[in-house]
């Protein structure tokens, strides 16, 4: 059953009591929260996700609640918790929905060492996975949102889950997180994209989330073969330039963008070597999204 088939009231009620149980990629998540913005966030962006009944095994029990009722009127705050554990300091109440996304990133990155987790977005065309690692500001999410809006399948915006056992990329389709100017850029590039409410003044500036395409969410069980490893760099004056990157350089660069490479040790190194072996590696500089999409569509043939 999809989340969007539930009434608004049912969603609110579930969040306020035992929690709403749903599937995000290969993970089963339970979320409880009395914060209305969190419910709105789910209703607008998670409509295509499967809801679970209470017989399912839940991987991550999460909650977003104000730390104290006393502060309801004075600089209200919100806390993220993972089954009673609080990994972060509270944030302003208005940032609750963004905090859910960050909190879930933390849950997955800290407890899923069956994958080598790369800080990268990953999209698929013609069954070929394109991986875009990126430090913040490289434009990986913008690129990802642009490609997805033109029919590419979204595997993941924030974390690429590379299976240590079979070398495939496992899907984690979730809302794409855009920051600051990227929000306007994508609204202009893809006017049909559904965007949740913009959260302002976070540590990363303004944040907007784009709803993942329904068919990408539906394919959450289908992994993909890695094919291209592309290091994007947005530069406002740049032409669209794709340069081949040597495999050794690519290996070093991607190592810097992993969440749990140090924990996986030899397994992590082997996974990355395999990734580099099967992928063509590039550096990519761009400023024009239309040109970028055209170039990658070509490359995916």
């Amino acid at each position: 059953m999809k989340l969007e088939t539930l009434s608004k009231k049912t969603v609110f009620r579930a969040l306020n009591s035992d929690g709403l149980r749903f599937t995000i990629g290969g993970f089963n998540v339970c979320l409880s929260s009395s914060v209305p913005a969190v419910a709105e966030h789910l209703l607008s962006l998670y409509g295509a996700f499967d809801v679970l009944d209470n017989t399912a095994f839940i991987d991550f029990y999460t909650a977003l609640e104000p730390p104290s009722k006393l502060r309801r009127f004075f600089r209200p705050q919100v806390n993220f918790s993972f089954d009673g554990y609080f990994p972060f300091k509270p944030l302003p109440y208005k940032q609750a929905s963004a905090m859910f996304e960050w909190g879930l990133n933390w849950c997955i990155a800290s407890h899923s060492h069956q994958y080598l987790i790369i800080h990268a977005s990953v999209v698929v065309r013609n069954r070929k996975a394109f991986i875009f690692p990126g430090v913040p500001g490289s434009g990986k999410s913008t690129l990802c949102a642009a490609l997805v809006s033109r029919g590419w399948r979204l595997l993941s915006d924030e974390m690429t889950l590379l299976s240590v056992s079979d070398g495939c990329v496992y899907p984690l389709p979730r809302p794409i997180s855009l920051k600051n100017r990227s929000i306007d850029v994508i609204q202009e590039f893809a006017p049909d994209a559904v965007m949740g409410s913009i959260v302002k003044n976070t540590a990363k500036g303004s944040i907007g989330h784009v709803r993942p395409p329904d068919n990408s969410v539906a394919q959450y069980n289908t992994p993909a073969q890695p094919a291209k490893l592309i290091f994007p760099k947005y530069d406002k004056d740049s032409n669209t330039v794709l340069t081949t990157l040597s495999k050794s350089r690519a290996l070093l660069k991607v190592t810097e963008n992993c969440f749990n490479y140090n924990i996986l040790g030899v397994k992590g190194f082997n996974s990355l070597s395999n990734l580099i072996d099967v992928s063509d590696c590039y550096d990519f500089k761009y400023s024009n999204l239309e040109e970028a999409v055209a170039l990658f569509t070509d490359l995916a043939h």
Binding site: H113, N262, I263
Partner: protein, 358 residues
């Protein structure tokens, strides 16, 4: 008195086969309790040891395997850390005795399986303390505690110097000269500990004798004020006792040694609660012989709550109170009242000012 309701995790630690009939919701609860008790990786070793690992539902297995990946990485780091410490102290003519987790690891004890911790604890003779500290600082460790009050508190009253942290590896080491604070009524003679310690073959490293390892684990747990890892520590005791009890006259030696080191009370608690909560096979006669004149109704009410996993599903309405009372008790045991009151007042004051993190 608490009607003792066994958390699902304890039942599985007692007999892993108990999990075979679980439905998915019960597996879900087991994983949650094990994670909050820091026993997820150990649970994996337990299932592995009885050949049940391949009968686990996929989702539960994934969490356990992920915890084991982390644990494997931890062992590599620990091995390296121990050799760095050994090297730093090589030139000193002092025995290096590893304590707790690192000792179990070097001894190959079952209690090392899935035991994750943040500090390496070592024991050195008190007269070598400053030489050891100097050598460690030379090798890149430095003190974490800048506050002069804390420095004085450690050096004057405690059984260890303030924790040292390595500048590059960010690892911590606690250097002890005894296993209980100087202010404790039952402060043991550390020479006795050194006298019985055991050398690890092919290494210039020592660990406490098996009985002393049990007693140290017991006194640590039952003098402790925080029980977030209480069940993990109780499980250590359970595994150590099971492993050592096959040695001839182990129980006799253990009882005798507890008297020599004045640790009869912690041993009594250790045997009582590992037997009650984890059904450790302690002979009836040993349980009887270890008895101490203690109000067990009160202590049961406290420990049978505080020693359960720190998870919502294991708490009742008295758990919070039990943990708070045991916290106060730990300070009372650590130091006499005339030292404790000013110390706690100062700590509280600094916490209110936000200068203290814990």
């Amino acid at each position: 008195m608490k009607s003792f309701q066994q958390p699902i995790l304890c039942s599985v630690l007692i007999d892993p086969h108990f999990a075979l009939n679980f439905n998915l919701r019960q597996w879900d609860l087991l994983i949650r309790q094990a994670r909050s008790a820091n026993l997820l990786a150990r649970l994996g070793y337990l299932f592995e040891s009885v050949g049940l690992l391949n009968q686990l539902p996929a989702r539960a297995l994934t969490h356990i395997m992920s915890a084991q990946v982390y644990a494997d990485r931890f062992y590599i780091a620990l091995q390296r850390e121990i050799s760095c410490i050994k090297e730093a102290l090589n030139s000193l003519n002092a025995p290096l005795v590893l304590l707790k987790g690192s000792a179990y690891f070097m001894a190959g004890n079952i209690a090392a399986n899935g035991r994750l911790f943040s500090d390496v604890d070592i024991l050195v003779p008190e007269d070598k303390l400053s030489a050891v500290e100097e050598a460690l600082i030379k090798a890149g460790w430095m003190t974490n505690t800048i506050d002069p009050y804390d420095q004085k508190y450690y050096r004057q009253w405690m059984h260890e110097i303030p924790p040292l942290r390595h500048l590059k590896r960010h690892t911590s080491i606690d250097v002890h000269h005894n296993i209980l604070p100087k202010t404790n009524r039952f402060y043991p003679d550390s020479n006795k500990l050194f006298a019985n310690s055991v050398k690890i073959p092919d290494h210039n490293i020592w660990i406490l004798a098996p009985e002393d390892r049990v007693l140290h684990s017991a006194m640590h747990l039952f003098h402790e004020g925080e029980f977030t890892q209480g069940l993990r520590d109780l499980s250590d005791l359970d595994l150590l006792l099971k492993e050592f009890s096959i040695q001839e006259s182990f129980w006799k030696k253990l009882l005798l040694r507890s008297t020599e080191l004045q640790q009869q009370i912690p041993l009594f608690y250790a045997l009582r609660y590992s037997h009650r909560i984890l059904q450790t096979p302690v002979p009836e006669s040993v349980l009887k012989a270890s008895k101490q004149p203690i109000n067990t109704i009160l202590m049961d009410a406290l420990f049978l709550r505080a020693l359960l996993p720190d998870h919502n599903s294991c708490n009742d309405k008295w758990t919070g109170l039990a943990r708070s009372l045991l916290f106060i008790r730990s300070h009372y045991l650590k130091m006499p009242i005339y030292l404790m009151v000013p110390h706690l007042l100062r700590k509280t004051y600094r916490r209110i000012l936000g200068k203290e993190l814990h």
